[in-house]
Every structure is written in C-alpha cells, then in structure tokens.
C-alpha cells in the first residue's frame, strides 16, 4: 500500500488511487465486508453444473457386464460370511481366511496385512511434511492388532504400473448384514474383473479390518504400501502372537494347496480408490448413494471422480445421490426468506432480459446453503470424513460411496437387485478410471459442492474471501499513514527531536511488531502445551482444559516478564498519541498474512476464521477514548467491540456454535478440550490456525481495547 506523505505536485495514478483508497478506507471496508458476506451467501446461485472434463473417462459408454451369475456368487459369499457369526471361536481369523479363500478361488493373488493402529501423536506440522515422517518404532502388544486381507487381480492388458483400489471396511469380530453386503458388492465386481479382458490397471481389493477404526486400517496399509519397512517387526509378530501363527499354519493345509504369500504384495501406483460401504437405513423412497469426499485439511479428490460416480449413479443405475447437509439449516426461517428474496430478484432479472440466468428456486437455495455449510464445516475441521481420507495423503483420489438400500434387505430378491445395481455402478466407475491415461488432473481439486451435481470452483469462492479480507491491509495502511503523519506534524511543531525514540519515526512500527511477534510466539507455546498435558495420566477433559487454560495464562505472564525489556522500552515512547493505531495496523497486517496463508492451506478455515476475525480487528479501538467521548455512536461501537471480543474467544465461539446446533443443555467445559484433542489427533491445520493466528489476534484486539491512551 502506498503510504505516501507530503503531497507532491504530480503523482502517478497508482499512487493517487492508493491514497484515495486509504483516505476512504472506512466506507470501503464497510462495502467490502458486506460484499464479502453477500458473495458467500450468493455462492449456491453462482454454482455451476458439474461436467466431466477428462475426455478419456467416457462414463457409461459400455454396457455393464455384471450378470446375475456374479450376483449369485456374491450372495453365496455373503451367506457364508454371516454364517461365521454363529461359530464360537476365533471368528476374526476365520473370516479373513474365508475371504482369502474366495479371493484365491477367483485366481487373485492374496496376502494378509497385519497392522497395529498408530498411537495418536502430537504432530502439528504433518500437513506440511511428507507422510513418512511420522513412523516410529512402537511397543506392540499382540492383542491390539488387525489383519487386512488384500487381493490383487493382475491386468491382462496392463504393464502392472497402475492400480485401482477397492476398499471394503468390515468389523472382523462381528460381521453385520450391511457390512457383509458391502463385501458382497465388492466381491461381485472383483469376480467379474478377474475374468474380463479389457482391464489395463491392476485391481486391488482391500478388505480392511475396522475393529480399530476404519481409517486406521486403511492408513496403516497405505503406509506399508508406499514406505517399505525393513525391520524385524514382522518376524517378531509371528513368534509372539499365536493368532497370527494360526493364520499361517492353516494356509498350508488349505484346500487348493496354493500358498499364501506372507510378504507384502504390491501393484502399481494408484489411479483412484473407492471405499464401498452399505448402511442399513430404512429409507422410504429409493436406493440412496451418499458421497463423502473430504480428506484431511479440506483436501478434496478430483472433481471428475465425483462426476463419474454421480453421472453413473443417476443416469445408469437410478440411485438417489446425496452429499452431506447441515440438516438444522434446512428449516431455518431466515434462509427461506433469503432464498425467496433471491428468487424474486431472479424473476425480476429474467423479466428484464430472458438471457440472464440468475436465481434458483428458494427450496434449492436452502438446500444449496445447507450442503455448502456442511462442505465448509467438514473442510474447515480438517478431519477426513471416512477412510478415503488416508488416500489423499498419498495424492490418490478417493471417495467413499455409502449405499443404502430402499427397504430392508432381508428379501433375497431385493438383495439381489441391490447387489446387481451397486456392482454395476462400481464396475462402470472402474471401467472409466481404467480408461485414464494419466492421473486425474483435468478437473478441479479446489471446490465446494452445493449439491452432487453443482459445484463452486476456487475462482468464485476466492472472491468472497478476498472481499472479506481486503479491508485489513487497507485500514492498516491508512492507520499507519495517519499515525506517521500525525507524528511528523507534531515533530515539526515542537522541533525538539532530542528524544531518541522519535529519531527513527519510520521505524516506529518496530516496537509494535515486537509486541505482535511476542504474542504470536505465545500462541505457538499455547498450541504446544496440550502435548505435555496429555502426558498426565487419569485426567478428565474438564481438568485438562482448566490446566491448559491456567498454563496458558501463566506462560503469558512469564513471557511478559522475560521479554519485559521490549515492553518497558516501548513505554518510553508511548507518550505519543497514536501508539495504539500503529499496534492495530501491525496486528491487522499479521492477521491478514495469517488468513491468506490459511486460505492456501485450508480455505474453509480461513473463510470461517475471517468471518470472526475481520469485524473484530476492524472495529477494535481503545475503550477509554470511547467512554471519554460518550456519544451514542461511540458507546454503540464499544458495545459492538465487547460483544465481538467475547464471541471471538475460541472456547466461547465453540460453545456458542455447539449450543446453536445441539442445544445448550449438554454443554460442559471439557467439550472444547475433546474437540481440540480430536483436531490435533488428526493433525489438522485448523488447530495451528487457532493457536497461532486466531488466539494471538484476539489477545491483541483485547490489548488494544484496554489500551491506556
């Protein structure tokens, strides 16, 4: 920003524009902020229909080959699996053996993958580094392991360099009907694919053991797939764990006589992965397909993958495709009114010129907003919505397909129909992905969904964010320029420049920057504290939260004492009036940088954070000045400031949001701790954002508010 002083006779237009913007920064910031919020609300209207941009995919170009024969086979498999439940002992191992047996009968290469779910570690910069840096040698107990079963069909037309992954999570301890159905669906497709001739990519069917969580099993398998471990872990296991020995003993006297390879089998790089789940919700109308796509830190798979699934499911197999919605928004009054308003605006616009397409029906708008809100929320949280999230860490595009049949699947005909349609859908998707010559790259990676068939691309939603944060640098520049000019005019009046502080008036900001830096440093200390708190045994969430809070306050005062020298130094020059203005301008710059950085890492966090931080930052002013003036406008500003500073405190924000969605009855202090703990257990960048951008900014705003000027 051009903070030029001393008006020269002729200035360059860009400088003049800068000066104009700065001098009208108040009105501009009001306009920009309103426009930013409005643009966010307009996103469902601005959303475009999805289209398949990679030509090679050609979804639905071939007739599905999955026949009733495959379905009957799958039915037999499902029955056998469920029958295992009635057997008394070691059903876990039995089920894996059964699956392996079926896979082998199809001519696939089979191996078991033993894993130990990774212990949650504090690894805040995980999103930033490559995924391998987290592996540590662990102390293993035998009781706490899972066994994945992996089958690989080699492609007759491929060179073995690429693969497509099917994942079916199931609980090996107790197999439910729905899980067995999902296994059956995958089995029907797998049995078909082991016979077809067109396959150019290997098919990996991962039957993941979800007794320790669906995500953990898949991520453990992926880790071992991509990062070979050359340790003795495997042999140690075999010696000490009787279960696994049993697994390997039986393989020798199995019926076919072929051995199961006890190493780790690999195919090529993964082109895409589909996680198949069946849930037993008794929906009334239709067979449903829920798509979950959000991976860690708001990363999404390529939009083309969702597109082909959506296209095939709707146009070929007749599923009702859904993405997650925030249900509580659906029946909110003001959204309906807003939708009707937009609808009527759209009608007016189209009556002026029928060419202009603006506005959608109010009901669609409400649905769009609810989907968008859920999309934003899931991305902002940074926690993957299913096992597909593990794939995104290795740059593999993956989604979870959650199929839910229309009625109960007890009837055998219903079940066969469901298996046929589900299998054909997956077959179609695999056929499309099989056509790919390169990775998915044509379509978008950065988008928000407003419905399964509509999306908002990065170019559109960035406008809303840019409008929202644009006032920050503008107001910062104007405050800075004002303070400097005021200062210089004071100097000219006095003409006594013997005070050392004023000698470097253009470096006035250094003291403020020091203060801001110290507060940010404190923020990083606060975000490191939970690591130590977690070492304390036997603590309840509430206690942990209180310890955390107290330690944070303590560390704040310690830092004040240790780094007191910059502060005491600053006090000397605090004589001049606008010290808070410079502090505010530095705070705003820091917030701006933090928000922009976060918008690159995880857009949704930045957007939601910006909605909270920007109004707070813009309006923060010393309380004493407002009280001293005492007019209505200053008092209302004071009230506004207090309210926003109260809302801006992260625990309060959390409690308010939770209360708004779930009611205030069930809230206690420990909930916030649980939430934060889950954030850092998933190594979400949002956690770092809260600790190192949001909290320091809030503290600085409070500091400005209570500034003695």
């Amino acid at each position: 920003m051009a903070e030029t002083e001393a008006p020269r006779p002729r200035q360059r237009p860009i400088v003049r524009l800068g000066i104009f913007l700065i001098s009208h920064s108040f009105s501009f910031s009001v306009v920009c902020c309103t426009a930013g919020v409005l643009a966010l609300l307009l996103l469902p209207i601005l959303a475009k229909n999805t289209y398949i941009s990679e030509n090679a995919l050609m979804p639905g170009s071939a007739n599905p080959m999955l026949s009733n024969q495959d379905v009957l086979e799958a039915n037999r498999f499902v029955k056998d699996l469920i029958a295992l439940n009635s057997k008394p002992r070691g059903s876990g191992i039995e089920s894996q053996r059964l699956i392996a047996q079926y896979m082998k009968d199809l001519g696939a290469e089979v191996n078991y993958h033993k894993f130990h779910p990774q212990i949650t570690q504090f690894h805040p910069l995980q999103f930033f580094s490559s995924p391998d840096s987290g592996t540590v040698e662990r102390n293993i107990s035998c009781s706490f392991h899972g066994v994945n079963t992996v089958g690989i069909t080699r492609a007759p037309r491929g060179d073995g360099k690429e693969a497509i992954v099917l994942v079916t999570p199931y609980n090996s301890q107790k197999i439910k009907q729905a899980e067995a159905l999902s296994l059956g669906t995958a089995y029907s497709v797998f049995s078909l694919l082991s016979r077809v001739t067109w396959l150019a990519k290997d098919i990996i069917w991962l039957v993941s053991d979800s007794q320790h969580g669906e995500y953990a099993a898949v991520s453990a398998w992926l880790r071992d797939y991509h990062i070979p471990m050359f340790t003795r872990l495997h042999t140690v296991n075999a010696e000490t764990c009787p279960d696994i020995n049993y697994l390997y003993d039986v393989r020798d006297n199995s019926v076919t006589g072929r051995k199961i390879y006890d190493g780790f089998k690999r195919a090529g790089t993964m082109a895409a992965a589909l996680v198949i789940k069946v849930v037993d919700r008794s929906e009334t109308f239709d067979d449903n397909l829920n798509i979950y796509a959000e991976a860690s830190n708001g990363q999404m798979p390529n939009l083309d993958l969702i597109n082909i699934v959506n296209y095939l499911a709707v146009h070929r197999q007749g599923f009702r495709v859904k993405v997650e919605k925030l249900w509580s928004l659906l029946d909110s009054k003001w959204l309906k009114n807003l939708g009707e308003l937009f609808e009527s605006v759209g009608q007016v616009v189209s009556s002026i010129n029928p060419q202009w397409k603006f506005g959608i029906p109010a009901a669609d708008y409400t649905e769009g907003i609810a989907t968008l809100a859920s999309s934003l929320y899931n991305q902002a949280l940074g926690v993957p919505t299913g096992p597909h999230g593990a794939f995104r860490d290795y740059q593999v595009d993956a989604i979870t397909l959650e199929l839910s049949p229309r009625a109960s699947v007890d009837k055998i005909i219903r079940q066969n129909d469901f298996l046929l349609r589900g299998g054909r859908l997956i077959e179609g998707v695999i056929l499309s992905v099989n056509n790919l010559l390169e990775k998915f790259h044509q379509s978008f990676f950065l988008y928000l969904l407003t419905s399964p068939g509509k999306f908002v691309s990065v170019g559109v939603y960035m406008i809303a964010f840019a409008l929202l944060v644009a006032p920050l640098p503008m107001v910062a520049a104007s405050l800075y320029a004002d303070a400097i000019n005021l200062n210089s005019s004071q100097n000219n009046e006095k003409t006594v420049a013997d005070e050392p502080g004023t000698a470097l008036r253009s470096l006035k900001w250094v003291n403020a920057a020091k203060k801001v830096f110290v507060v940010h440093l404190w923020g990083s200390v606060v975000s490191l504290l939970p690591y130590f708190i977690c070492q304390i045994p036997n603590r309840s969430p509430t206690v942990s939260f209180i310890i955390w809070f107290l330690l944070s306050v303590l560390s704040f005062f310690i830092m004040f004492l240790i780094l007191a020298s910059p502060f005491s130094h600053a006090k000397e020059s605090q004589l001049h009036l606008r010290e808070w203005a410079i502090l505010k301008s530095v705070t705003m710059s820091a917030t701006f940088i933090g928000l922009c950085l976060m918008s690159v890492i995880n857009f949704s966090t930045a957007e939601l954070g910006g909605l909270l931080l920007v109004p707070m930052c813009l309006m923060a002013q010393p309380m004493r000045r407002d009280i001293r003036v005492g007019s209505l406008s200053t008092l209302s500003r004071l009230a506004y400031n207090l309210v926003f500073c109260l809302i801006g405190f992260p625990p309060v924000t959390f409690v308010l949001l939770k209360g708004a969605f779930e009611g205030f009855n069930s809230i206690n202090v420990g909930d916030f701790w649980c939430w934060v703990e889950s954030l850092w257990a998933w190594s979400s960048a949002t956690y770092l954002y809260i600790g190192m951008v949001h909290l320091p900014c809030w503290v600085l705003c409070i500091h400005i508010l209570f500034h003695h000027c």
Binding site: L125, S129, S133, Q299, R392, F445, L446, S506, W509, I593
Partner: protein
C-alpha cells in the same frame, strides 16, 4: 555504552544457543532438502557426494552432483559431518559485519565532522548500526534456516563479507557525496574553517593509477595461483576445461531446472530450445548492464554499492537461495542510520517487512501444495517466486532512492550551514563545471575500485 555492548553479546550468544538447539533436535522439517535452502550449488549433500567420489579416486564432477570448486572439497569435505562449522561461519560473519559497521561509522562521523555537520549526529544519538546489522544477520530467519539446513551458503557469505571487510579497512569507505567536498574546498579556501581536513579530502579524490595497478597485479598472481592448484586437483579428471564446464558453465547455462526461489527455472523450463541461448545471454547481460550506471551514481558510497550489487545478483542468480537474502539483509542493517534516520525515511519499510514475512511463509506452503498435495501446480509456487523478486526490486529501489535523498539532504544542510557561518552571498553555481569533471573522474576511479572488490569476491568464491 557498556550496557548496550553487553546486550549485543547476550543476543549474539542466544542466537548461537538457538542454532545449536535446532541442530541437535531431530529434524522434523527436513530443512536440508528444502528447495529454498539448498540449491545445486549450496547443497551439502552434493558436496558430500563430490567428496566421496574424490575419495574413491573418481572425478568429483561425475554424475552431475557437485558443481563447486575442487579446492572447496579439500577444505570442507572432511567437515561435512559437522554442522558446527556453519554455526562458526555465521558467528564470524556477524563479527565481520560488526567490524565493517564500526569502520563505516568512524569514517561517516569523520566526514560529517569535515563538513562541519557534527552537531547533528550527536544530537540524535545514533543507534549503533553495527550491532543492529550483526544482530539482524544472526537472528534473520533466513540465516538460521540456511545454517541449520546445512547449506554451504554461510561459508560463501563469509567469503563475500571477508572481501568486503578487506576493502573497507584499506580505504576509508563511506562518504557523503564528493561533490560536497569539492564545493567546500573551493568555498572555504578563504576561511580557515577546518582547512586541513578539507585538504586531506581533496587529496583523496585525486585519482592515481598506482593502487589500481597494484591490485590488478596481485589479483592476477592470486588467480594464477588458484588456477594452478585447481588444475593440479583435477588433472586426472579432464583438467581445467572440465572444471570450468562443470562449475561456471553450470551456473551460466542453467541446466538444472528444479524449482527454487528464483525465476529462471520456470522461464527456462518454458522457453523453446532454440531460443534458449538467446535468453541466457539476455538474462546474464541484465546484471552487467546495471554495474556501470550504479557505479557512477553511487561512487561516493562503495560499501552501499556493494550491498546493491549483492542484492541484484542474488535476485538474478541462476540458483538463488535464502542464504543470499540473508547476506544482503544483514548488510542493509549497516545503513540503518542513513536510510531511516531523521533526515530521510524509507517510506515502505513496514510494507516491505510485511511482504517479506508473507512471502517467506507462503512460498513453502505453495511448494507443499504443488509437490506433496498435488492440488496446486507450478504456477502457484512460481507466483510466490515472482512476488519475492518484486519485493527485492522494491527493496533495492527504495533503499537506493532513500540513500540518495539522504545525501541530498546532507548537502542542503551543509550548504545552509556554510552560508550561515560565512554570511556571504557567495553563489556556488559557477563551480558546477569543475565539479562535474572531478565527479566523472572520481566515478571512474571508484568504479574500478568496485570492480576490484567484485573480482576479489569472485576469486574468494572460486576457492
């Protein structure tokens, strides 16, 4: 003063401790593989590879890993395992910068006294710019990262700073514009006001060939010596020709297009093959075009000129790293009194600082988005590289213009003071003719001096 001194040493010591802590902690961020830190020229891994090849009596340049001088292998090769060397190099750098700062300050004060402006600096209680510069160097995150990330840039920076130090101690470096003195000598000839100092000043401006010839002779001797040593080292592996091809040729033809914080890699990845040579010439001529005009304009401030040159070369380098930025930002600290003093402000200092913080945080994130997450592409990262280059340009332009207006202000002050003290209506206009002549002469002289300094750098670097 003693308290200030103590504080400086305290902070310097703290920075060393900080480095040691970072070095002996497990490297979570894997700094030594970051493109910002280690370029093909400064990567310690490549040096270790070259050393290993040399130990197993192969050519150190085999496999296109190592691109430094063969003599450097002898010096640094055995030390590759010890990262303490880089900490020591950083401390030495900071101390050298401090001594340079001291020299600059002394000569600056002398010149001010000679211009009878001494009342002003005393009044405003100058900040010890040497301490600021040294601490800026030590605590600059770029310096810390390149030291902890095990790149050889601290050693290279040491060579540059050492040659600057040598240049500063031999000739008194920084002066307000010589024009001032020329005017003054003739103005104050009648009045005996600090006459002797003026005379000395006048003597200094007279150009003589002797030191130049002496310098040229010694540099030729030194370069022949270095070349002979290099030739001995690589005589079994293709001789000096191979060495030149693999070191200077590697720098000039930019064959390694792996991303870094500069702008050349992207450009040469995009450019058509048959235009490549043309654009190589264009890009490298760019630096040469700036040498002469800057030398003429800034001839009275060779040290500042050296800063400008270093900043420009780190901007237009084929393989820039953050270590280069660390060097010129440290040197910028030396001129804090001139650039941000009472006379003149660097208006954009706050803005520059924010951009500096923003870009240096954004660039690794963009790189992550492109390389690791695969959701971005090369343009994302290149955008930050461009922003960084623009930031450097603005920094250079701003600092040069601030420095020039500082000198202009000094001149105005001194003229005003002069006229006040003499209370004469003596016009200085008619002197302009003789002044320009002397200026051009002295410009040429100082340009040659600067070239000498630069050559000196180059030689030290080639060791």
């Amino acid at each position: 003063m003693a308290a200030k001194e103590g504080r400086f040493w305290g902070w310097a010591f703290a920075s060393v401790i900080f480095r040691l802590i970072l070095i002996y902690f497990p490297n979570n961020l894997n700094l030594s593989s970051r493109p910002e830190v280690s370029t093909p020229l400064t990567s310690l891994r490549r040096l270790a590879e070259g050393y290993w090849l040399k130990q197993s009596s192969l050519s150190p340049y085999a496999g296109s890993m190592y691109h430094g001088s063969p003599l450097l292998l002898y010096v640094l090769g055995p030390l590759t395992a010890k990262s303490l060397v880089f900490v020591i190099a950083d401390v030495v750098n900071a101390l050298l910068i401090r001594v340079i700062g001291q020299n600059l300050q002394i000569s600056y004060n002398q010149r001010l006294k000679a211009l009878s402006l001494d009342a002003i600096p005393k009044e405003k209680a100058i900040l010890p710019s040497r301490d600021i510069a040294a601490l800026v160097y030590l605590w600059n995150p770029f310096t810390i990262v390149s030291c902890v990330g095990l790149s050889t840039s601290p050693i290279e920076n040491m060579a540059v700073i050492l040659s600057l130090y040598g240049a500063c101690t031999r000739y008194g470096p920084e002066t307000p514009p010589r024009k001032l003195f020329d005017g003054k000598v003739e103005d104050s000839a009648s009045s005996n006001h600090s006459h002797r100092a003026m005379k000395q000043q006048g003597a200094a401006t007279i150009f003589s060939w002797k030191p130049v010839l002496k310098f040229l002779m010694w540099s030729v001797v030194w370069s022949i010596y270095v070349l002979v040593l290099c030739g001995l080292c690589v005589r079994h592996y293709g001789g000096l020709h191979e060495m030149f091809k693999r070191t200077y040729g590697f720098i000039l033809t930019v064959p390694d297009l792996s991303p870094n914080i500069g702008v050349l890699w992207y450009f040469f990845a995009e450019v058509f093959e048959f235009f490549r040579n043309f654009f190589l010439i264009v890009f490298h001529m760019n630096i040469l075009f700036m040498v002469l005009p800057l030398a003429i304009r800034l001839n009275h401030r060779p040290c500042f000129l050296a800063f400008v040159y270093i900043a420009i070369s780190s901007m237009l380098k084929s393989y820039p790293s953050v270590g280069d930025a660390a060097l010129y930002l440290g040197l910028l600290g030396l001129f804090v009194n001139e650039l941000a003093g009472k006379f003149i402000d660097m208006q954009f200092s706050f803005f520059l600082f924010c951009v500096y913080v923003g870009v240096s945080l954004l660039s690794p994130v963009m790189h992550n988005l492109w390389i690791w997450r695969g959701t971005g592409n090369a343009n994302f990262y290149f955008a930050t590289a461009m922003a960084y280059a623009c930031f450097q340009i603005v920094l250079v332009v701003e600092s040069v213009s601030a420095m020039l207006s500082h000198d202009r202000k000094l001149k105005k002050l001194s003229i005003a003071k002069h006229q006040e003290s003499k209370s004469q209506q003596h016009s200085t206009n008619d002197l302009s003719d003789s002044r320009t002549r002397t200026t051009v002469k002295s410009a040429v002289a100082s340009w040659i001096e600067d070239l000498c300094i630069l050559r000196n750098n180059a030689f030290l670097l080639s060791i």
